[in-house]
C-alpha cells in the first residue's frame, strides 16, 4: 500500500489512505472481495478529528434494511459534538458493526479497520458516486473553510 495522503486541518494532519474510496459525507468505503459488491463504511480521519472521543452511537433501525442516499440512519455523540448520520449511498444495509454499539470508542482506536460502521450492498451505479482518495482530498480543501465557519458560527451563538 502506498503512503496515505495527508490533509492539514490547521495543525492536525488527517491521514487519507489510498487503498479505499470515499464519500462526501466523510466516510470511507472498502470492498471486501469475498462479499462481492458489498461496501464497508467507516469514518475518515477528518470526521474523527471533529468528533474527538465518541461516546454514543445509535442506529435508527436493525439490519438488513433498504436505505436511500442521504436518508437519516442514526446518530453519534462525542465529547465535543453530536450529529445525525446519513447514508452515503442508496442500497441495502446488510450489517451494522455490533461491537461498536457496545463500545463506540473503537472508532477512535481503529477508524480505518475494526472501527468500521456498517456494510451496504449498493443499488446499481451507486458505487460510481464514490470518490478516489485524491478526489476526497480535493473535496476536503473545498469544505475545510465551511467546516471552520460552521464551528466558529456555533461557538459564537
Amino acid at each position: 500500500m502506498t503512503q496515505p495522503l495527508v490533509f492539514m486541518m490547521g495543525e492536525f494532519p488527517a491521514e487519507i489512505p489510498t487503498d479505499r474510496q470515499y464519500a462526501k459525507n466523510h466516510m470511507w468505503a472498502m470492498s471486501d472481495p469475498s462479499l462481492s459488491s458489498t461496501n464497508r463504511f467507516g469514518f475518515t480521519a477528518y470526521a474523527v478529528r471533529l468528533l474527538q472521543d465518541v461516546y454514543f452511537l445509535d442506529w435508527h433501525f436493525d439490519a438488513p434494511a433498504p436505505v436511500s442516499e442521504q436518508q437519516e440512519i442514526g446518530s453519534v455523540e462525542s465529547k465535543k459534538a453530536e450529529s445525525s448520520l446519513y447514508s452515503p449511498l442508496s442500497g441495502e444495509i446488510s450489517t451494522f458493526n455490533a461491537q461498536l454499539l457496545a463500545d463506540p470508542s473503537g472508532i477512535n482506536v481503529d477508524k480505518y479497520g475494526e472501527g468500521w460502521l456498517f456494510e451496504i450492498q449498493p443499488s446499481d451505479n451507486q458505487a460510481e458516486t464514490l470518490l478516489s482518495a485524491e478526489q476526497y482530498v480535493d473535496h476536503l480543501a473545498d469544505v475545510w473553510v465551511i467546516t471552520q465557519r460552521t464551528i466558529k458560527g456555533q461557538l459564537n451563538d
Binding site: K24, H26, D58, S68, E72, E82, S84, T147
Partner: protein, 339 residues
Amino acid sequence: MIKPLNVFVSSGLSHHPDKRQIEQSVTDLLALDPRVKVTMIPNLYDLRPDGDAYSQLKALDDDFIVISWMFQRAAHWILDRNGVLGQTGEVEFGAEEDEDADELEEDVLEEEEKQRVVDTLDIPDRSIYCLQFQHPSDAQHYVNEVVRIAESSLMQWISGTPDQSQLDRFLNAEQRNEPELNAVEEKAGRRWYPVIDFSRCTNCMECIDFCLFGVYGVDTQETILVEQPDNCRKGCPACSRVCPENAIVFPQHKSPAIAGAPAETGGLKIDLSLLFGAPDAQEAAARERDEQLMLAGRSPVEESGNAQAISMEPRQVQNVGADKDDLDQLIDGLDSLDL
C-alpha cells in the same frame, strides 16, 4: 386538613432494569410520604383518552405532578390534548444553568412578537408539573423535587392566615407506617402520533397542508389540532420538520429535538449534521412523507421539476384558464357574498 399532592408515575416502555428500578424506587419513597398521593400509571403517550388513567387525571382540579421518561413539553401537551389542562409548573430539577441567559433573552424578545395559540386558550389556573426521569439518576433527587413542589404549591393555595400547627405538621411530616400506593392497570398498545406544543404553535397550518394522511384537522375555533392521531404513519416524523416554530413533538423519536427537548440544551455541543451529509429540512420532510405514501400503496407527490415541491398539483389541470360557465359564475358569486 391539607390535601396531599397527587403524583403520577408514568412508566416507560424500556425494559432496561435500571429504568424499571428508578421508577420503583421513586414510587416506593413517595408512597411513604403523607404529603403526597402517588399513583402508578402506564405510559402517558400510549394511553387512550377515554381510559381509566385519563379519567382519574381529568377528575383533578388541583395542581399535580407527573413523572415520566418524556421531555416536559411532550408530557404537558399530551395531557392537554387528552383533556387535562393546566399552566406549566416550574420544575427546578435538571434545569440548565443560566450561562446562556443573555443570548436567550435576544431570542425571546423576537419570539414575543408572534401570537401563539396558547395565548388564546382558556387554561385553568392550576399547575401541572412534568418531571422527566433521566438515566442514570438517584431516586432521592426526584423525591426532593416533589417535596419542593408540594411545599411551593401549598404556599400558593393558602389563603388568609395559615394555621401554624397545620403548616408545621405538613412541613415536618412523619413518614407513613405503611406505604400507600395506587396503580391503574390498563392495556396500552404502542401508538405513534404528533403532539402540538401550543406555546410555540402560531396556527400557520403548514402541517395540515403537508400531511397527506389526514392526521391534522381544525377545531370549532379554527385552531389546528391532531384530529386522527392513529392515522399517523409509525416512525414518520416528517411534519415536525416543516413546522417553522418547532411546535410538533414526537415524544418517542430518537432525536431529542423532535422528541421535545427544550430549545436551550445542546448548546454545549457542536452539531456536525450539515457536514456529515444532512439534507435540507424541507427536502427531508418531503422524502419521508413520500416513503410513507409508497409504503401505504399510494403514489408520491409529483415533483414538478422543483425539489421543494410540497403541496399537490392542482387537479383538472386541463380546465385551468378555460372559460367560466354559469355554474362557475354562481360559485364565484357565493364567495363574494362572504357568508
